[in-house]
Symmetry: none
Subunit: 416 residues, 2 copies
């Protein structure tokens, strides 16, 4: 079987709805996308369901599906995803939480869920409360991630993920720290909840007295005097997709959660300081690195851009248009510098984030696969309402992964 290469561009949260201020067009329909339009002449297109029609997914579930996994079977919850992203080796039976360094007052009221978006000395603060042994022998690990984010892992036999963590929630600054409780009344969950509370109390003591926090207080900053925890999960076995398809794959992303998921499925992760999860991310440079990796012989190179999603959450349609146009330029660069007979280029997304909704929604995501020999749809404009008529319409993100692998020559025949 002849093998070809593929580049997959993921515009996070790209899908949208008609927006009044854009003349009832979606940001993608409104954008000036000469390179996409050029590519559409030799593309299969469609709006694609992240999982199934009308189901809303998070970035993590959306990417597991884009990378070819059945999230219903393998998604372990966000806690383990974060821990693994940070390089922590989750073991069977571990319960992992995503967490924040936060600030509480003397009455355990959460006054800042992100401790002033703390960005310094979090390694030292995490290490001060890492490796704790609780009264019943449970070990607790704390791994710092970007900014105020951490992962917290409890290790013992007979723990459970069926519990509520200490975080009172996004909309609940001003609420008291939640004393963890079992969600299913099982002994395992009760024990886990008790352990998480013991860890929280003990870590508060240590953090309160930590010199870095005392320095923050004297500088008038919010101290990182508590860890809020949420998103309990236990690891399931996520398949190594790279091994399964025998592909040599690379993922370029500024968002380390995406990088963590890519590593989980066996893809090599590439990040640079200029690749951020923000509006400022160096989109053009990501394209250049993708080309370099293709030229180095990677079979499949993924480029992830988070900023489309941010502009949805921030309800900034014109910002979304601006990011889409930058992605279009990067696509133009890739088309110009690769051979359409040897390398497919796909654009898709993990979910829709309609600006007016400011949240993820269940609509399918605009998708096309470009290459000299794909069956063509003769849809020559880019946008959700045009893509509807394409051959990929109403398929799923996992289908799109499989279709790319098929085109590239990495799908083994079933039967004879």
């Amino acid at each position: 079987m002849t093998k070809k290469q593929g580049i997959l561009v993921i515009a996070d949260g790209l899908g949208d709805r008609p927006i009044k201020s854009l003349g009832d067009k979606t940001p993608l329909e409104y954008s000036n996308t000469p390179n996409m339009n050029f590519m559409l002449q030799k593309s299969m297109v469609g709006n694609v369901h992240p999982v199934a029609p009308g189901f809303t997914v998070g970035t993590d579930v959306g990417h597991l599906e884009i990378f070819g996994c059945d999230s219903k079977t393998v998604y372990p919850g966000r806690g383990p995803i974060e821990a693994i992203s940070a390089g922590f080796d989750i073991q069977k039976g571990d319960v992992a939480f995503r967490g924040n360094f936060a600030t509480i007052d003397d009455n355990e009221i959460v006054i800042d869920r992100r401790a002033g978006r703390i960005n310094e000395n979090t390694t030292e603060l995490a290490s001060a409360i890492n490796n704790m042994t609780l009264d019943d022998g449970t070990k607790v690990f704390v791994v710092n991630l970007t900014e105020h984010r951490v992962a917290v892992i409890l290790r013992n036999t007979n723990l459970s993920k069926e519990l509520e963590g200490t975080d009172p929630g996004t909309a609940c600054e001003g609420s008291r720290l939640v004393e963890p409780y079992s969600l299913d009344n099982s002994e395992a969950a009760k024990k886990t909840a008790k352990n998480l509370w013991e860890f929280t109390k003990k870590s508060c003591e240590i953090l309160k007295n930590h010199p870095y926090n005392q320095a923050r207080v004297s500088q008038g900053k919010h101290p990182a005097n508590v860890i809020l925890t949420r998103g309990a999960g236990m690891n399931k076995s996520i398949p190594n997709i790279a091994e399964k398809f025998k592909i040599n794959a690379a993922c370029i992303a500024g968002d380390i959660t995406i990088g963590g998921i890519a590593k989980l499925v066996g893809f090599k992760y590439f990040i640079k300081d200029s690749f951020t999860g923000g509006y400022d991310t160096a989109i053009e440079e990501k394209g250049k690195l993708a080309l370099k990796l293709i030229n180095e012989g990677y079979d499949f190179v993924i480029v992830h851009v988070k900023a489309t999603d941010l502009s949805g959450h921030d309800n900034l349609p014109l910002k979304k248009v601006e990011i889409i146009e930058k992605i279009d330029s990067m696509l133009g660069y890739l088309v110009e510098n690769t051979d359409e007979e040897k390398c497919y280029i796909t654009m898709t997304s993990d979910h829709s984030t309609p600006c007016e909704l400011r949240e993820h929604s269940g609509e399918p995501v605009p998708t096309f696969i470009y290459g000299s020999d794909v069956r063509r749809d003769n849809i020559l404009q880019s946008g959700e309402s045009f893509y509807v008529r394409g051959q990929l319409n109403n398929l799923t993100s996992r289908d799109i992964f499989q279709i790319q692998m098929n085109l590239m020559g990495f799908v083994k025949k079933t039967g004879a």
Copy 2:
């Protein structure tokens, strides 16, 4: 998440095939539907499979799917649906049948499957044979429904639904009463068959001598001297969809089976004397009640019209057109009196009932979802052949439920 409201109009049996006398148009294509055509400017459209391509369903299965249930897992058979519709509390292990009051002669030949469409004193007749205890201790309950219809419930341990009832079938007037038999040769089914036969014999004795039946005979009417049974089923747990999605939902229908299914999934059921399952049903009034319920704050209001299905069964294409045009007027009233930014309006059906076939068929059903912010399909005429090009085409009724819930803001994100 911002919540919106939704109205769902179900035109039972709406889907059809090209009909010669309508110039090879379907009734929906032939109808004058200015309000639908107006709505289509801001709609997602498609022909939608009740369950899967080419599968023909009954009204009960079709509605379970429209209400978001997986009928393959939860459908208990028609017997239990009828019993539950009548308010009977089905317990685990009960076997329920749908039944008819019918007329047999002295040789047990069924001479009228509906006992002259008996419509009087059925409460008294049912009550005369209700609460019977059979030789092995099995209890039998008989609940009268509309006209000649009843539900029969057998209660004991170790019963089975794998049996044929006493009804020789629609096309078999002139045949003998069927002695019930096991379909799987199990002891439980044999026992249930024996019980059903004992009940049938004993109830015939009671009915034959009942004063109301003797009066019917003296008036030259067919006596209700037997109960024909069919559609054996046992209850499974039908999910409470209202609780699952945390929606406050209402269903307006003249057909009490639809009302029963709505109640089963946790929707409140509204009926009035003028809401019938017939051609005479007050469609305009149903629309007015729907608007009232929306204004009272229900999240989701369903309006069911049976008459489109009847006209299919009766092979009356122009009658179907007339009903569709009345539904169109009701849609116009709803559009005029609701806010398109706050309330979606969906039209769909439970299955196709092509006039020339006079029966349900497996074709997908015409469907659209209207609202200010849905992705538009720019399909501006109403009818099966136009809807094919829409974004909802080839999805399923359950998908359409999920998509409505997603638009209305009642779908929780999976993942983070």
